[in-house]
Symmetry: C2
Subunit: 228 residues, 2 copies
DNA sequence: TAGGATTTGTGCGTATGTATT
DNA sequence: TAATACATACGCACAAATCCT
């Protein structure tokens, strides 16, 4: 009798995924900004485990490029110049477009209801949102729109690229003194456009819409970053 | 004084990469066919280390989808149906095409010399090659052609997809009773076509050439696999 | 059905490397 | 320059889970 159904005791893998997900989110929310030294023992204690499983999580984060462990020094949250980020952004553009061609999933009415809810929350966030809340919201939207393709490896790679680029977006956006309220507004507009395309059942248009906005978002970052 | 240059003592990461590379190659060469149970202690002893670093390697292979560790059972080399492989193949097609557009690298004369050498070896292999030698050769060609793009994340993802699909190609090709000599011949022809495109400096053509051949290769596999 | 053999997962002490004083 | 502090890397012993007899 294993836990193949229902909520019995969480398996080893579940705990691993939960810790990985949590720490990855902290990195993207800048709870652990680039350069932060993460302590194996401190994290292990916090999550109620020992160093060994935590090292497994940190190793995975290292393979994903989010942290780097150096013997004798520590596990440091990685940083990158905008120029280094550009390769990842351009690849992310192309993979995003692929979601419209590779195993697209026409969403059901429940999906549209969830999207409506997200868009409403996004509208409220324009005036009252903090950078942190906005990032959380962005992550939630990303995970939702990822359901529009059934191609598992594509989803996996898009997720990797998203977290690797998104965490530095917030850092760079603050440093470049971008008008975050304006960014919120643009994002909200993007979501409405995506909803329109979804209602028309045009998943390729949805993908191109996302691609265009990611491209413009990076463009704004680069212009301000290069200027100021 | 660290080992940043020259051949001083290999670093921790070097040993890790070497073990990972070796075991991954064994999986693709069918030294460890799908379903094989890998022993942590046996592998650790063979590589002259303990379980801990070996577990780190196996964990990475698990993240890459090549093996799966189950508590109390063992670490098993994963298997997949052709239908499951199709998603990965289609994504690989698209990423291969991207190598011609994302940070293409015009190769120098030394690269062309190496390619000439590879093509010559490929010609010999048509008559005298074993499936194992052919796979090794295919891996070497893949790594060489990967140099034609400078986009690091694209290379990384292409590598992941290559090993995840290639290891099952050999299994499926043997089971579907494909004419391997004919496959060798086709591959050699592909390489000559790629060389032609490279001499013309048309990297986009090189990418499309690779894409076309990967597509046709999978097509042959699917036809025979579905028929017999 | 129960028990033993085998395997992966966990916890912790120790070794090794780095940075700072 | 040397010593001390502290971090990750490693190795081993034990716990937990599964399979086979």
């Amino acid at each position: 009798m294993t836990d193949d159904q229902g909520d019995t005791t969480p398996s080893v893998r579940d705990r691993h995924d939960a810790m990985h997900h949590e720490i990855r989110q902290r990195i993207c929310l800048l709870d652990y900004p680039p350069g932060t030294r993460l302590s194996e023992v401190a994290l292990a204690e916090e999550f109620g485990t020992s160093r060994t499983p935590m090292r497994r999580v940190l190793a995975r984060l290292e393979d994903e490029g989010l942290v780097q462990s150096v013997h004798g020094v520590g596990t440091i949250v990685t940083d990158a110049e905008i120029s280094e980020l550009e390769q990842e952004y351009r690849l992310r553009l192309e993979l995003t477009e692929l979601t419209g061609r590779l195993d697209p999933v026409v969403p059901g009415p429940d999906f549209m209801v969830r999207l409506d809810g997200l868009i409403d929350r996004g509208a409220e966030m324009i005036t009252s949102g903090t950078p942190r809340a906005f990032t959380r919201f962005d992550m939630e939207v990303f995970q939702t729109l990822l359901e529009l393709t059934a191609n598992a490896p594509l989803r996996e790679m898009l997720e990797r690229l998203y977290y690797k680029t998104k965490r530095l977006w917030l850092t760079a956006a603050i440093e470049a003194q971008l008008d975050l309220t304006e960014e919120f507004r643009i994002f909200h507009h993007e979501l409405e456009a995506i909803r329109l395309a979804l209602r028309a059942g045009d998943l390729e248009a949805v993908a191109h819409m996302q691609r265009a906005h990611i491209s413009m978002s990076f463009q704004r970052l680069r212009q301000r970053g290069g200027a100021g």
